[in-house]
């Protein structure tokens, strides 16, 4: 508080992240545990996208934290602390996945799946005066109890739908919608263009919505 004005270190960091970086450099255990509590579960989930098992994912994350500690003194603050941590994680996880020969799915990331967001049969066919309008429109979910929407079963439907996505779509939706990353962060992490990121997100979300619709309409039928 009463400190003299420091040189403008880490211009890209929020005050909160600057505080954590400085505390880590001072070997402050509480700051480290604060980061752990904030990111551990999310890092494990992201690692799971690359490696086969939960145990290996936890291993990758432990290695990531070591990388964070080893690198913190030289951290330049050119990206946010969070982005930097996740970049260490994805690099560590990819190396590990290669060692485990799971690299193929990431070497050929082609998501050659250009299916429409909604089954074309649900719209009136060409030739109809109202071609392209809904023939069987979706039924709203607002009548469903929150307990149904948030049930373990609904969540497993979402999780299963995400698991079935092509790898890059899966990565994008997990980072954006599960982990709450911004589009800029995801683009930086996965080296995607803005348009590409949005297209992948769109396909992923559309498929998860369709899976939820199938499940929730069963439920109310």
């Amino acid at each position: 508080m009463a400190e003299p004005p420091a040189p403008p270190a880490f211009p890209g960091l929020s005050p909160d992240e600057r505080r954590l970086v400085e505390a880590l450099r001072a070997r402050d255990e509480d700051a480290f545990m604060e980061l752990i509590d904030r990111y551990q579960a999310s890092l494990v989930r992201v690692a799971m996208m690359y490696v086969g098992s939960h145990a290996v994912a936890e291993d990758v994350v432990a290695e990531t934290w070591l990388g964070v500690l080893r690198g913190i003194d030289g951290f330049q603050g050119r990206s946010s602390l969070r982005t930097w941590i996740y970049r260490i994680l994805t690099n560590t996880a990819k190396t590990r996945a290669q060692r485990e020969r799971r690299s193929i799915s990431f070497a050929s990331l082609g998501d050659g799946d250009d299916g429409p967001a909604v089954d074309p049969d649900r719209f009136l066919p060409p030739g109809d005066p109202a071609a392209g309008a809904w023939a069987s429109p979706p039924r709203g979910w607002d009548g469903l109890p929150e307990a149904t929407l948030l049930s373990a079963e609904t969540r497993s439907v979402i999780d299963a739908a995400i698991e079935q996505l092509p790898p890059t779509q899966r990565e994008v939706i997990r980072l954006r919608d599960v982990e709450g990353f911004s589009s800029a962060e995801v683009r930086a992490l996965l080296a995607l263009s803005e348009t590409n990121q949005r297209v992948l997100l769109h396909r992923a979300r559309s498929k998860v919505r369709a899976a939820l619709e199938r499940y929730l309409s069963e439920d109310t039928a």
Binding site: E29, I36, R45, W65, A131, R155, I173, L201, V208, L212
Partner: protein
């Protein structure tokens, strides 16, 4: 002052939902999108479902860290800090 807005078919609108939610539609497309939504119950419901899908997907993040993993990391930290 009236602006002619070319209509969008529902089948095409569903492909624009993410661009719309991301604020990535050019102004004219954005206007066409909202104009369509204003008069179409099916697409209004669809848009609501996409928003709900995003919200529910976000709930997958609720998960705790295991005490064992936490203890191991603390141990690793102490090794690093004293090293």
């Amino acid at each position: 002052m009236s602006v002619h807005i070319a209509p969008i078919a529902c089948r095409d609108l569903v492909e624009l939902v993410t661009d719309y939610l991301e604020g990535a539609l050019p102004p004219e497309q954005h206007a066409r999108f909202e104009n369509h939504i204003a008069g179409c119950d099916g697409c209004t419901t669809y848009l609501e479902q996409m928003r709900e899908t995003i919200r529910l997907t976000g709930t997958l993040s609720e998960q705790q860290i295991s005490p064992a993993a936490r203890a191991a990391l603390l141990h690793a930290f102490r090794g690093w800090a004293s090293g």
